[in-house]
Symmetry: C2
């Protein structure tokens, strides 16, 4: 089996050709990849069924089995995703800024591909196709390292799309899969400093932490979301309810779902009983601070650990705060810097909240569930960055590029 | 002595106040810091002389002693640097982009400070003041970790400027120095993920490598520069000479100095003898490929290692190449992605060179020595990034910031 280093070297050798490919060539490749997927639905489902069977044998959860499972419409969705990416604006070549120096030198800062991007991800086979499409469009070679659960699905998908891309003239090694799914293969990929230019882990907290701890390749941390909704003293109760229910229950298993509700003390006695009743209709379990418990009566205890927790489940931590300042301090202390919302009718409090909350996305009077490249109108997304370097919040094509300075002169030297 | 973790916690606790400080407050602090330095020249020079004395005892090189040495005009330069930074535009608060979604949500992407920035650097005490000034202006708390050689100078400088900043109302812990200069203290700083948001190492290759290998905090690699000048077949010989001599000899010890000369075979016999004679007048030693040796006669051998070398000295590796393609491939293989120049009169070759060379700064008909924040007209610089994430090339104030999304609505929820 090819070693991770071999794969990385091949990607490195392929990167110039893919970086130099024109937008037309890249779009042609994306369309060919989409067509090839549609032409191979049967073989894809066949390979996928091996993963499902193996997963059943190993007793993996129904939720995971569902995420693993492909059917004709899911394959079609992947193909359509590639066509959507073909229709997005090519970020490469954009002149971000430029100026002329007093000595006559003309400087341009130009957007260029990053080079070789590694993606380490869990379970869902659609990530394989989505990530490959975005990397190709942004002119990058990509190394995919999925999980063992999806190895048969991922292998056939990469075989199909990389062959299709190669047939349109892109290098064969533009899209590669690490077929070894032991831990060591992931660690090897993390140590490919100099060959791999960027690593994006997509998955749970454990995966992200392992990558941060071990990688010598620059990393963009994604996805962990301990998000808050803060209901201010003069919030519109109906609006606050609508936003809270949406943020908590519309899709509880994702990173931009609400995990902790903070309520101003002045509105808590009015708001909490209604909110609790609505939340319980949606099967949400509450874990409250002492004041919450006193107001609601029947409610589990929230411990210090709860304030740090990303449940990804129908559980909500609830805390009554004295004022806006306590809410902001709570969010900045316990939150993950993903998405946090205030519901208020106070101009001044909206101003202070958006200034002081140190998160990738800060909302006034809207659900945290909007933090998403598609929802933001940025096109497809490769992940949501929760770090501060390079990209913060939803990442799309421009975030998969870097820049270089091009300086044109006529013999200038430095005095 | 305060532990590195204590220092990091204090910086974390200070960061919100410095992030929220207005441009006026920050400028006031910078001017007070400059004034305090000018008022304390004597005590600064006294502490500096301890470092110099200690350095002499330990037999450190004259070059290093010179970089360590402060005098009244160098202190004045540091103070003037702070005033220059006060005059630079504040990057914080810039609305980088913004738009309205079909559902009525208004999204703004706003520039905000990164938070806590760690700087690990060698010898020169002026870095202490320069880095602190840039971090303060961009709204960041800074943790400085200089070398043991400069500990007395760095201690007094930080004492003076942090006190001056605090007297204008900024948090006392906005500027902190790690007073321990053992290796372990640097390593501790590298592991402060979650408390420190960014680490910038400034120094030689060894330091950069140690930080990349060990840091869990996101890092921006700086400074290593194996830069090339490529003289194309139809270059203007006089222009090529002027650029080469400037790039190699104007200041050989810095990262944007030229380390390897590449010459097109068709022009080599005409160009190399003149170039060698001019270079030798400047005491530059040449190490050539076989063809170079054949043309020049007396010239040391260049080994494979030479092509990878950043000499930072009056040594130049020389290679005759068959064509532009070989030149580009050489640069992309052996170079460090810092600054590379072509001298040519061919429009097509200038186009291909700037497209294909994968470096932070790519020059046509100009010296590589211009890669510098000040020369580029960006104001003071905190370093030159040779990595592709977050920032590439000279970094100034905007590169010390990140962004956040602020989303304003009136009750929108996700369907």
């Amino acid at each position: 089996m090819t070693s991770v280093e071999d794969i990385a070297r091949r990607a490195r050798d392929a990167k110039e050709a893919i970086a130099q490919a024109s937008t037309e060539q890249k779009n042609k490749a994306l369309r060919a990849m989409a067509r090839a997927l549609m032409d191979s639905v049967n073989v894809i489902l066949e390979e996928n069924s091996k993963d499902i069977e193996e997963g059943r044998k190993q007793g993996i959860s129904t939720a995971l089995l569902d995420r693993l499972n492909l059917n004709p419409s899911r394959v079609e969705e992947m193909a359509r995703g590639l066509l959507d990416v073909a229709n997005l604006k090519d970020p490469v070549g954009e002149i971000v800024e430029g100026w002329r120096l007093p000595n006559g030198l003309v400087i341009e800062k130009v957007r260029v591909p990053i080079g070789v991007i590694g993606i380490i991800y869990e379970a869902r086979p659609n990530v394989t196709v989505d990530a490959a499409g975005l990397c190709i469009k942004s002119g990058n070679a990509v190394i995919l390292r999925g999980s063992s659960n999806a190895i048969n699905s991922n292998s056939i998908l990469v075989e199909i799309i990389s062959k299709a891309a190669a047939q349109t003239g892109l290098p064969e090694d533009s899209i590669q899969l690490v077929r070894r799914t032991d831990r060591e293969s992931a660690r090897e990929l993390m140590r490919m400093h100099g060959l791999v230019d960027l690593l994006i882990p997509r998955g749970g907290e454990g995966l992200i932490r392992t990558v941060v701890e071990n990688s010598t390749v620059p990393v963009i941390e994604t996805g962990v979301g301990n998000c808050h909704v803060y209901v201010d003293s003069d919030a519109n109760i109906q609006m606050a309810l609508r936003i809270l229910i949406n943020a908590k229950t519309q899709r509880p298993g994702v990173c931009n779902a609400c995990e902790t509700l903070l309520v101003h003390g002045e509105i808590a006695r009015e708001f909490l009983p209604v909110a609790a009743s609505e939340l319980r209709k949606k099967n949400v379990r509450l874990r409250g601070c002492p004041v919450t418990k006193e107001i609601l009566g029947d409610c589990e205890d929230a411990t210090e650990e709860d304030w740090y927790s990303e449940y990804l489940d129908l559980i909500l931590a609830v805390k009554v705060v004295d004022d806006l300042d306590e809410a902001v301090r709570h969010i900045n202390k316990y939150g993950s810097g993903h998405s946090d919302a205030i519901v208020t009718n106070s101009y001044e409090n909206s101003r202070i909240f958006t200034e002081r909350v140190d998160s990738a996305a800060v909302y006034v009077n809207a659900s945290t569930r909007f933090t998403d490249g598609g929802q933001f109108g940025m096109g497809a997304e490769i992940g949501i960055s929760t770090q501060k370097l390079h990209a913060r919040g939803p990442m799309s094509l421009p975030e998969l590029t870097t820049t270089k300075f091009i300086i044109r002169g006529y013999g200038q030297i430095r005095e």
